[in-house]
Symmetry: C2
Subunit: 493 residues, 2 copies
């Protein structure tokens, strides 16, 4: 059968026709239905076959080219690129790096038959669209053009006010003047770096840590000092040693449900961390996006709430976990540092969308946010529990180690010695399973036996299915091992 | 009369009560009704007098303190700060710098009786709120949760597609892959700097130039080389000399209706600029936000449309002039530079609001944008013409020089030798008139005889009133001079 007869489009769908065609052909290439080096049909004939404009086909082919599935030969036509053995349209040796980089930047289309433990962004169906729409309408009726007019760089005053009272529930006592609105945690890190990190300055981060933070610090020309995180936080002696050695400008930390490990600092280490910051006059940058997802009654106090000497910049993103795509978050800033932060925010993008700020302010004021958080907590808690059960049942017995988190969305697993999670990533991708190998969570992208599974974008059924699949892949890869085979990379408490 | 009896609030107004109280007291202080060193009434008594909560008064006082009108003495009360002779609540010597910095960052409340030639942001009444609201509703009904879900860092594909066809009208031929969505011109400059400017790199800018660009380049640790802009563009010999001397990474330029001068490059200089970029392998960053406001039939071709060797990064912001507060713009990028730009955008804020992108896409597709632009062009053209007339009538005869722009929103005026525009700024502010002195448009903030007047935020009546007022201030300041008194700072063509 001509594989191009299998191209399927739905003219009633809201998705653009050329995207449907692109996806359909890409799937057929990945599935091997359309082979390497095959020439795609001429524009006109495929357009006729599908009953669409020529332009639609041109666009679909462009997209295929852009995504690396095909290449064009001038004067000859469009050809399917040679595939590597993983079934993906990648260069043989660069595939992991490039693929991950692209995935990380939202450049990879996730196919519907894929199970993605890699995404930390929840599925769109969880977004409270109707509520939000009504708020937008209310705001536009209430404030009209002002919504789009002059916006304070520091953020919409009433929103900052709402946030001050919101923060009191979390034991953070601050004032409107110390809140800076940002478009999300990534911008927070960027703005803080602009304000305080100069070329050549040292910055301490946990190892492994959030990729986006590494990228930003690197982009400032900072020297990145990595301190391994243990299941109860960084080793404080090592931290002190490194502070003495490198005199860092700041310490970037996620004390609760760290990304990617899910680890949390115990109370003592939190206190010690603050004391070291006081002692050596180092700024702490606390990135907190998951402390609301506390499932086991762990003490998820933030450093900011414990900080008596105002050395902590607190970053909170609302958008990541609860309202992705909203592009909204905030900083709580030690008062003396505010002018630098404000200048850096201004130099970054002047101000954050007034529409989103006003809508979110109303969302908080009306108490809808509280209900939404509770709703999301239930959703995530169910996934969390299923994940814990599945890992215990299928993965841990294979000799793969995991210190189960107390909450959050991330699980950090480590393969036995000698195995690389890059390799595992590739094997999983072949099986339509996405994970994130540890290499991307370090400053030099060094290979790691560990990998991250996130439950943000998987439904309960997919978790079961996906973890079973993963266990099969792992079994083939490492063979059955005794669960007592303790992993040397994996620190024991 | 007790001046505090004059505090006026309107309980039916949408504006927060404490903001009303803050503004009312601030006005009374500025007007001298409430004198320096006067103690504000105790919280409770003012709350009683106005029939509001104590907390409302606390907040109003906090705001007054933040804005520098009052200071608190612990255990004693809140006192009005000593005023300087300009009637503003500023430190005597730092006032220009601090005031400007704050104004520039949107931190200064512009009083209703002020005429602001300083703001480059149009008045909120020009925003097409109803149209935009309907589009938002349409988008949310059409795309539901996807609006807030996964967003490509490069930008929403259909929007990039719309932009490609939009750009064809401007003679810019590009493809979806070369368009990068950003949240506005400022972010564009920031992202480009992250991608290409390392610590110690040289960057060439026009002198004077956009403050926000200087801030960003500085923040990257760049060496900023300023080349004076003449009414027909930079001196190309000097440019070549500086390129040879400093080997800059990029040249930041606004070839049409430059900010702050309003000057435009002639066609020959545009060509020469490109040729120098080809010859010395320098990147051109073209910031184009005003070329749509071309009132005199000048050839406002963009460098990008003339660039045959793909060395120009084109920055376009929609939000600045036509839809402030929307936070949306785009880059057109030479193909080989795309990976770096994408990485820098990702490290800045992951992606731009999907809601705004989708709504704006529909705005373009439905042709509403075209109508809106035409509407705005008419509004601005009227202001432009009035401004030209008023300057010719009241200002030029005083010996103040101005090379009238061909379009855009900015007018650049230069005082005779020996006068500083910082001084003029102060005198204007005393008279509730805001202008921007030339000092803020240079990398070292050096004093300048020149200043910028913008017509973005003034109504026709205000232009007449404001320019008359300005002429009176100027007359007092410099005395009547012959218009033939040519200014040494002002280059003659």
């Amino acid at each position: 059968m001509d594989p191009f007869q299998m191209i399927h489009i739905d003219k009633a769908a809201t998705e653009h026709m050329y995207i449907q065609i692109y996806k359909s052909i890409a799937d057929l290439i990945r599935q091997g239905q359309i082979k390497s080096n095959v020439k795609l049909p001429p524009i006109r004939s495929l357009a006729e076959q599908l009953g669409v404009n020529n332009v639609t086909i041109v666009k679909a082919y462009d997209e295929l080219e852009k995504e690396g599935y095909v290449h064009k030969k001038i004067g000859s036509g469009t050809y399917v690129k040679p595939m590597d053995h993983h079934g993906g349209a990648r260069e043989p040796f660069e595939d992991v790096g490039r693929g991950l980089e692209q995935m990380d930047r939202g450049q990879i289309h996730i196919h519907s038959d894929m199970i993605s433990f890699s995404s930390a962004t929840p599925t769109p169906d969880l977004f409270p669209v109707e509520d939000f729409k009504n708020l937008l309408i209310e705001i536009l009726d209430r404030d009209a053009g002002s919504v789009f007019g002059y916006q304070e760089s520091q953020g919409y005053y009433p929103l900052r006010e709402s946030l001050v009272s919101y923060l009191q529930q979390y034991g953070i006592c601050t004032s409107v003047n110390h809140v800076q609105i940002i478009t999300g945690a990534q911008q927070g890190i960027d703005v803080i770096s602009k304000a305080f990190v100069e070329y050549g300055d040292a910055v301490i981060v946990e190892y492994p840590t959030y990729t986006g933070a590494i990228a930003t610090f690197k982009s400032r020309g900072a020297k990145i000092i990595e301190i391994p995180i243990l299941p109860d936080g960084m080793d404080m002696d090592k931290l002190e040693e490194k502070i003495q050695e490198y005199k860092p400008k700041l310490i970037y930390t996620m004390p609760n449900f760290q990304n990617p490990t899910g680890y949390s600092y115990n109370s003592q280490k939190k206190k010690q961390l603050l004391e070291l910051a006081y002692k050596y006059n180092v700024l702490i940058v606390e990135d907190d996006y998951l402390s609301d997802l506390n499932f086991n009654g762990y003490d998820a106090a933030t450093l900011k709430s414990m900080d008596m000497q105002d050395v902590t910049i607190y970053i909170k993103s609302f958008s990541k976990v609860f309202m992705p795509g909203l592009r909204l978050g905030f900083l709580v800033i030690p008062s003396k540092l505010h002018p630098q932060i404000l200048a850096a925010k201004h130099a970054s993008d002047i101000s954050t969308s007034g529409l989103n700020q006003r809508a979110f302010d109303l969302y908080l004021r009306k108490g809808i946010w509280k209900h939404h958080i509770q709703f999301m907590q239930r959703i995530y808690e169910e996934r969390f529990e299923i994940m814990v059960r599945c890992l215990n049942e299928y993965i841990i017995p294979l000799g793969v180690c995991c210190s189960m988190p107390q909450g959050g969305l991330n699980f950090w697993l480590c393969l036995p010695e000698g195995f690389s999670s890059n390799e595992l990533y590739r094997k999983c991708e072949e099986n339509n399973l996405l994970i994130l190998p540890g290499s991307i969570f370090s400053s030099n992208q060094k290979e790691s036996p560990c990998f991250r599974l996130s439950i943000a974008a998987v439904y309960p059924d997919q978790i079961k299915l996906g973890i079973k699949k993963l266990s099969e892949i792992l079994e083939r890869m490492i063979g059955k091992k005794e669960s007592s085979n303790i992993h040397p990379y994996f620190p024991i408490l």
